[in-house]
């Protein structure tokens, strides 16, 4: 039965879970289908990206301003890029592709974003985790010194990426320029996001500028968790949390705003 007006909170949560589960399966099937390895592509694809970049950086012996092994550096750096970059990429234009779902009253715009964010988050996380495990077992990488700091840094990037994704997704429904600008912006942010340098290796004035970018703090945290004593990490969790909180509120307001303007076909 479809729900009647004003169900209780518990009932609402149950509906919410059901809707997200249904949307997740639908998204996974639509994106990856049942051919060859199917939904394993979810994390095989980001793994291929990370492996490729790691191989490239190793081959060119990229300078990164520290004596960390390049494999470790590339893995932590590029995995975080995938995390914050793919979520907005998938949420921009997500509503247009799913407008007809709005005929099911239990599905809200936020659910469509949440489903896509969850898929991107799982893909990036499984890929990061698997690669780290493989590298550790094969001796290219030391196990993280402080697993919790790694996890905290990862979650901070994920939170910021998720709310950025919802904000840009909602805005993209009204302003198609968002889509046009996001591609160059994400490309330019990649080298600035801390993936390719340690903040401590930068000159002081550059440090100050770079630390305005929230992702940098997360990457620094991950590196501290992994390498601890071997690097000097510079970050301010409070700054990222404040940014994410403000953006979260903005994202929720924008989703409500855009929902009023939806016209399903």
């Amino acid at each position: 039965m479809a729900s009647a007006a004003q169900p209780s909170l518990a009932a609402s949560l149950k509906i919410q879970r059901r809707v997200l589960a249904a949307l997740l399966v639908r998204e996974l099937l639509t994106r990856y289908g049942r051919h060859n390895i199917g939904f394993l592509w979810l994390f095989v694809e980001p793994m291929m990206f990370t492996l490729g970049v790691t191989a490239l950086w190793t081959a060119t012996k990229s300078a990164h301003g520290s004596d960390l092994p390049i494999v470790a550096f590339a893995l932590t750096g590029y995995s975080s890029v995938l995390l914050w970059r793919n979520m907005p990429g998938r949420c921009i234009g997500a509503l247009e592709a799913n407008l007809s779902l709005m005929y099911h009253r239990n599905i809200r715009a936020l659910d469509i974003y949440m489903a896509r964010i969850m898929i991107e988050f799982s893909g990036a996380t499984i890929s990061f985790f698997t690669l780290a495990l493989v590298f550790i077992l094969s001796g290219w990488l030391d196990p993280p010194e402080d697993f919790l700091t790694v996890a905290a840094g990862w979650m901070m990037i994920a939170w910021f990426g998720a709310v950025l994704a919802i904000t840009l997704g909602a805005l993209s429904h009204e302003y198609e320029l968002v889509d046009k600008f996001w591609h160059p912006a994400s490309y330019l942010l990649f080298p600035l996001s801390g993936a390719a340098f340690l903040v401590s290796a930068l000159p002081p004035f550059a440090r100050e500028i770079v630390l305005y970018i929230p992702m940098v703090h997360g990457v620094e945290m991950i590196r501290e968790g992994f390498f601890g004593s071997k690097v000097q990490a510079i970050y301010d969790p409070g700054y990222v949390l404040a940014c994410s909180l403000v953006l979260s509120v903005a994202a929720l307001i924008l989703v409500r705003w855009v929902e009023k303007r939806l016209t399903p076909q």
Binding site: A2, A4, V25, Y103, H104
Partner: protein, 471 residues
């Protein structure tokens, strides 16, 4: 209960907000079936989307005290890359139902066979419609929203849909939108008319229908753009399409068909005649007009109607027995052969009654023809140009530039006069419409104006010069 209170809906356009629904109010209780009539663009689909909750009103409130379906037979919610099975599973999960149980029902009901396991994008539109309807039936809603279900699938499937929906689920609330009054009359017990965003409720079907027709009448009619077709049959074919897009015309013929079906021949004749006055070249309704006048014993009019249908391209073989029956009861074949178009130049084609009326207006400035006179002209089997020459030779022809009639009768009897007859004339004579209008606005005599705008080119109309010379 569903309560719709003061809802309005604006859409943003480049030229500012456009109000699609304006302060709409109604309530719907269990067991009530509300039929909403409206023209295309009246806001019907917007209303159903708002009630379904897919879209938010700009202002006002909708309270849903029961579960409401999505607009039925709507196939858009499919993910076309996914298979039918996956789509069924998705909907089942969404509404907390057992997917496998639903699949069994859908396999049986939608009759898609192996296609159910193929991506929906490989389906034909009929298969999609069947799957969409079947999926709509697996969720037991208290209220169904139905958008023009009449168009779903073939007749057999349609019958099963009607049974599932109106019989097995006859106790539910329903809201049905349509521009087909007959469909609503058969399935609804409450009626409303939506026009320009405003909803007016009615207690019974007849008043709602009258209101709907009255609103059609005040609209600008759909008019054909006079393309200078050189072949008459191509022109007639495109004019029929124009007629079918004119909702007023379609409403009139539906009304006429309904009257015919209950053997109210006089009412049917009046409605067909009114429809044909709007679009005189929709030949199939000349056949119907022939039938309903024959039933009333008006044999001359019936013969005129049948011969007009043939002149406009209806099958002579099919209509000959009818013509014979009204011409000389008891005979198997018409004594006077029936003229049919041969696809050649317009001026050599046989005239239908509207052509005769237009020619009489042109040659003699008259606004109507007598039935016997018209039938005599048709039986002569002349082409259009010869008929015109004959009319000009008639001593009663007014040689002076008499005032042109404002409207003429293009259907025998007392149907409304056709104001746009000059468009028919321009098309008949092959004149360029705008130039003709301009010449007439300058005060040119009609023949003169026709020739100056490229009309009557190659026509053998010797006597025309007399009228022209004296103008």
């Amino acid at each position: 209960m569903i309560a719709v209170e003061n809802i309005s809906k604006d859409y943003r356009t480049r030229t500012g907000p456009r109000r699609v629904l304006d302060n709409v109010n109604f309530t719907l209780h269990k067991g009530e079936r509300l039929g909403v009539l409206g023209r295309n663009g009246a806001g019907k689909s917007t209303l159903i989307r708002l009630v379904s909750g897919a879209e938010r009103p700009t202002s006002g409130q909708i309270t849903r005290g029961m579960s409401v379906s999505w607009p039925l037979a709507f196939g858009g919610a499919f993910q076309s890359q996914l298979t039918g099975v996956d789509n069924v599973r998705f909907i089942s999960r969404l509404y907390a139902q057992d997917p496998e149980h639903n699949l069994a029902f859908i396999e049986e009901f939608a009759e898609l066979g192996q296609y159910l396991r193929e991506p929906v994008m490989t389906y034909s539109s009929g298969m999609r419609a069947r799957l969409a309807f079947a999926i709509s039936m697996i969720i037991e809603f208290d209220c169904f929203l139905i958008d023009e279900i009449a168009s779903v699938g073939d007749a057999r499937f349609h019958e099963r849909c009607n049974y599932e929906l109106f019989d097995k689920r006859g106790d539910r609330a329903m809201m049905i939108i349509s521009h087909d009054p007959g469909y609503l009359r058969d399935h609804c017990n409450r009626f409303a008319v939506l026009d320009a965003g405003r909803l007016t409720a009615f207690d019974d079907f007849e008043t709602a229908h009258d209101h709907f027709l009255a609103q059609m009448r005040v609209r600008e009619p759909v008019r054909a753009v006079a393309q200078p077709f050189s072949r008459r049959m191509a022109a007639i074919d495109s004019l029929r399409r124009v007629a079918h897009e004119d909702e007023h015309f379609m409403a009139l013929v539906r009304q006429a068909d309904a009257a015919r079906d209950r053997h109210d021949w006089a009412a049917a004749e009046a409605s067909y005649a009114a429809a044909l006055s709007l679009h005189p070249y929709e030949r199939s309704y000349w056949v119907q007009l022939g039938h309903v006048t024959r039933e009333q014993g008006r044999m001359v009019r019936a013969e005129i109607a049948y011969r007009t249908a043939c002149a406009f391209g209806e099958s002579v073989r099919v209509l000959e027995p009818f013509i014979a029956a009204v011409e000389q009861p008891g005979k198997a074949a018409p004594a006077i052969p029936v003229a049919a178009p041969d696809g050649g130049e317009t001026r050599r084609q046989p005239p239908g009654y509207p052509d005769l009326a237009v020619l009489a207006a042109l040659a003699q400035g008259r606004d109507r023809l007598g039935d016997d006179e018209a039938l005599a002209l048709m039986r002569r089997q002349d082409g259009i140009e010869d008929v015109l020459a004959h009319m000009l030779d008639d001593p009663s022809t007014t040689a002076s530039g008499a005032a042109l009639p404002g409207g003429i009768a293009v259907v025998p009897g007392d149907a409304p006069l056709r104001i746009e007859w000059r468009e028919d004339l321009a098309r008949l004579a092959g004149a360029r419409q705008e130039e003709l209008d301009a010449a007439l606005a300058r005060g040119d005599e009609l023949f003169h104006a026709l020739r100056r705008s490229g009309g009557l080119d190659g026509w053998a109309v010797p006597a025309a010069s007399r009228a022209e010379a004296s103008a």
